[in-house]
Structure formats: C-alpha cells, structure tokens
Amino acid sequence: MKRHFARQWQLWAMLAPAIVVTAIFAYGPMYGIQLAFREFDFAAGLTGGEWVGLKYFQQFFDSPQFWTLMRNTVTISLTTLVFGFIAPIALALLINQVIGVRRKRFTQTATYLPHFISIVVIVGMLQVFLSPSTGLITRFLENFGITGVNFLGDTSTFVPVYVISEVWQHCGWNSIIYLAALANVDTQLYEAARIDGASRFQIIRHVDIPALIPTMVILFVLNMGGVLNTGFEKIFLMQNTLNLPVSEVISTYVYKIGIVGSQFSYSTAIGLFNTIINFAFLVGANQLAKRVANTSLW
C-alpha cells in the first residue's frame, strides 16, 4: 500500500500541466468577476477599485437596451435550440432507414461535411448567396415569387437565416450520436415488432424513438446550459446596421461596450448576469431530466 501511494506522484505529474492551465486560464478569470461589483480603476488594476455593490447590475436592468437584448438573445437561442435539437433526431431516424451500407455511409458523410467549414466562411457564403441582386438563393426564391428581400438586412428575416444556416451546418454532425444509439438497438426488438405486424413507420415510433430518449435528454440538458451563450462569432459577423435591432445579443453587446468601449465593470456585470442565467437553466434542466426521465448529468 505504501509503495502504491509512493508511485502516485507520477499521476500528479501527468496532470500537472492540465491543472496549471485550467487554474490560470479558467479559474483565473473567475477571480476577476469581482470587477462586476467594483469601480474599475485603471491605475489600481483589477481588484483595486471601490466596491459599488450592485450598481452596474442596476444600471443594466434600467437601461433601455435591457429588454431588447433579452428578447433578441432568448429569441435566437430558443429558436436555435428547438430546431437544432429536432433536426438531427429526424435526420438520424431517416438515415437509419436507408437500406444498403454504402448509400447510408454516403448520406451520412455528405450531411456532416459543412460542420468543418469555419464560421467566417459560412457567413461569407451567406452574404454572397443572399446578395439582393445576384445571390444564388435570392435568384432561386424569385422562381417562387419571393422578390425584393434583403435577407441579411431585414429585421424579419435575420433570425430565420441564422437558424436555418445553423441547422444546415450542424444537423448532420449532431445526428452521428443518435445514429450510434440506434445502432445499439437490440435487433430482436425489430423482429418482435415485425411479427406483431408493425409497419416501418410504427417501428420508428415504438422502437427507435424510445431508444433515443436517454441520449436526447442528456443533449437537451447540455444545450440548455448554453441558452444565452448563442454563438457570439456568427451573430457578430452577420450583424449590420440594418439588422441590429434584432441581432444585438448580450454577448455581442458585452464585446462592444467592454473591449471596444472600455467600460470594463459594466460589461463584466452583464457578462456575469449572462453566465448566471445559463447556469440556472442548466441546473433547472438537469433537475427536470432527473425527475422526468431519471437521467442526469451529475
């Protein structure tokens, strides 16, 4: 036992770089959260300013921006959450129905290719495809009588464009995990269902979907934890003066007033508010999952 313990220092040595990196770069900024409750003082540094309590939170709640930011953030993230959650499940159920290994592989491989394209390129593609004069998609929609829409510059089309392009990019990739779950379904269940005279659609309803529920619950809980964290990068890149009324979200606002505008304390407070809401959603969803489906993250 003693010899055993004496050898565990090697495990600590293997973990040391990971612990140091996490302590500095993940926990380090948490120490800086106190800035949300202090007056930032350039001379005194991060922790030298006066305590001001909840002043900056109050300022945020009272600001005319508050409701707009909340509405935009919640609209974009919940819509993305719903569609981004359902689409991969539907796709996996469909791909699972393909007969023939090669055809199945091809479909799968093709649908997750866009996942590896960078966000900057995706937004670049959206801009050329949706260009009001020459865009590929704009021209395609003209065939259906949809004309004169500036998709990226209109407050009513921004959210649909964002959500559809998110689904386009990640649906195939996110379906892999469900396909793995479907591959583990006991074949006897299919046989039994067949003998009972189930149609293929009924098999999906009564065998496949129940088999996916544990995976669905876990992914749902994980996604809930990011509700207000909607992709800063993509929204930021898609923003322009025309769509700003619906595209300004908490994360882009924090960047603008904090990094660009140097209002450090105020934007730290808003960022903290965002993190706390996310955390609450995560814990709430986890509790719900524990009760309803008896599955949980911890």
Binding site: L15, Y27, L46, Q97, V98, T107, A110, L113, F264, T268
Partner: protein, 300 residues
C-alpha cells in the same frame, strides 16, 4: 438487421420512397452550395451573376485565384494559422493525453474531485472582460501564445480521452505490468500510448480543426495585422469587403482595378483556398471524426 426492415406492405413501400426522396433532397441541399462555390470561383463572374452557372463552370478563368495568390495578406494569414495550429495542437496533446490517462486510473484518489475541477469550467466561466484583463496582465495581448496557452486544454476532449482509456485498456494488462515492476510512466509510454492510436488521432483532429477555424482569439486579443490568423483575413475579404478594394492596383474603393463582379469571384476563390485543406483531408479523416463522437457519447 437491415434486411429485416425490408418492405412488406404497400405502406412500407411508400415509406421507403419518402425516405429516399427526403434524403436525396437533404444531400443535394447540403452539398450543392459547396459545389457551387467551387465552380463559381473559376467561372466568368458575368455569367455567374447572370445565373448561367449551375452545374458546370462557364467561361473558365483563374483571375480570382491570381488575385488571391498575389495578395500578401492571404499568405500571412495562412502562415500564421499553420504556425498556431501546429504548435497549438502539439501543446494540446501534451497537456490532454497524460491528464486523461491519469484520470482514468480508478485507484487514483484525487480522481473525482479533479474531474469536477475540470468539468466545472465547461459550465461556468469568468466572462470576456475578466479574461481580457487577465491576458493583458500576463502579457498575452498581441502575442502569438494567446492562440496556444489559454486553449491548451479542452475539457470535452479530456473527457473523451479519459473514457477511452477507462473502457479500452483492460485492467488485467495494468495489473500484469505492475507485477512486472512497471511504473505509471512506463505503462503510459509503453502500453497506453501504442494502444490508443485511434483516440490520439481523434483528439488531434478535433484540436487541429479548432485551431484552424479560430476567429475569436484574433478578433479580441491581437492588434497587429501581421499576427492575425487566416480567419481574420477571411473576414476582411469576405465580410468587410476591404482587403481587395483596389487591391489589384486600382484607384481604390469599390471602383478599383476591377469591378464589383470580380470581387464576388475573389470571394468564391478565397472560400475555396481557405477551406481546401480541411476538405481535402476530409475523406481520409471522416471515420476518425465519427469514432470520436461515438466515444464521446459513452457516458463518463
């Protein structure tokens, strides 16, 4: 299993047809935009904007690519991104893999609290401004190491690798090696590493793609243009429409050396040039990606 699902009733047949048609549409919608970018990048821009290019390039020319290759910024971005990706991924592997192995040892007493220590950071963070100020104090602003050190460990990848070591390296092997006097170090290097080539490649790929596509770090923490990664250069060309405004030696502005229509051809070309490395590697790597997701799905 598949043969058992074959159609038996007319209803099943209709269902099969529905599946086939839907998936054909899905595949088409997924791949066509990418295909279109490629053919548009070598087509006459006038033909593209007139809507004459749909499945075959029209009026093939390489003007877009000539402009891109002549632009120093694209090269600088490429060089920086390759540097950050190679060094960054090497650091990632050195930090992640030994830690994952150590956390997989069931007899390791600190295992659970340490897992919590790492996993907590997935759900809670200090936020942008405290992070920015910390990097500033550490001298990481406008410094290439900002691309490498803060992202040295991805907790999700750590969990995937740990799950692999837990499930795929037989406990008996470890016991036998221990009886033969192997230490954790020697077991890790002589047994665990050679037995885990699959997971090593998966994790490495995840990190490679993450570095290659990193846009945020350059945006927030880098000021000098000659340190910017490819994604920032791409932003300027594709979205801000700046890098090539008059870049061909024209009078500047949108009425520069070439018309706006050529700007689109350049954009298509830039998309191809920057995405090419990932797409070329894609057929060779995709089985690893899939494996990674599946290992990641093992509840840890």
């Amino acid at each position: 299993m598949l043969s058992r699902l074959k159609n038996r009733t007319p209803g099943d047949l209709v269902f099969s047809a529905f599946v086939a048609v839907t998936l054909a549409v899905v595949v088409y919608v997924t791949l066509y935009p990418i295909f279109f970018v490629v053919i548009a990048s070598i087509s006459d821009p006038a033909q593209v904007s007139a809507g004459n290019v749909s499945f075959w390039p029209q009026g093939v020319n390489w003007f877009g690519y000539e402009q891109i290759l002549a632009d120093q910024r694209v090269w600088t971005g490429y060089r920086n991104t390759i540097l950050y990706t190679v060094v960054g991924t090497a650091v990632n592997m050195l930090v992640t893999i030994p830690a994952a192995y150590a956390l997989s040892r069931r007899e390791f007493a600190a295992r659970r609290p340490l897992m919590f220590f790492f996993a907590f950071t997935m759900f809670f963070n200090g936020g942008l401004i405290p992070t920015y100020l910390l990097y500033r104090d550490l001298g990481l602003l406008n410094n290439m190491w900002v691309f490498i050190l803060p992202s040295a460990l991805n907790v999700y990848n750590l969990i995937i690798a740990r799950a692999f070591y837990e499930n795929s390296i037989p406990e008996e092997l470890h016991e036998a090696a221990t009886l033969d006097g192997a230490t954790y170090f020697s077991f890790f290097f002589k047994m665990a590493i050679p037995l885990s080539k699959a997971i090593l490649s998966v994790i490495m790929l995840y990190y490679l793609v993450q570095h290659w596509n990193d846009f945020f770090t350059g945006l927030v923490f880098i000021r000098d243009y000659d340190k910017q990664p490819l994604q920032i250069v791409l932003r300027d060309i594709l979205i801000s429409n700046t890098a090539f405004a008059g870049g061909a030696g024209g009078a500047g502005g949108t009425g520069g050396g070439y018309g706006q229509q050529f700007a689109d051809q350049i954009k298509y070309g830039v998309i191809v040039v920057s995405t090419l490395p990932v797409v070329i590697l894609y057929p060779f790597l995709q089985k690893y990606f899939e494996k990674g997701v599946m290992i990641g799905s093992v509840k840890g």
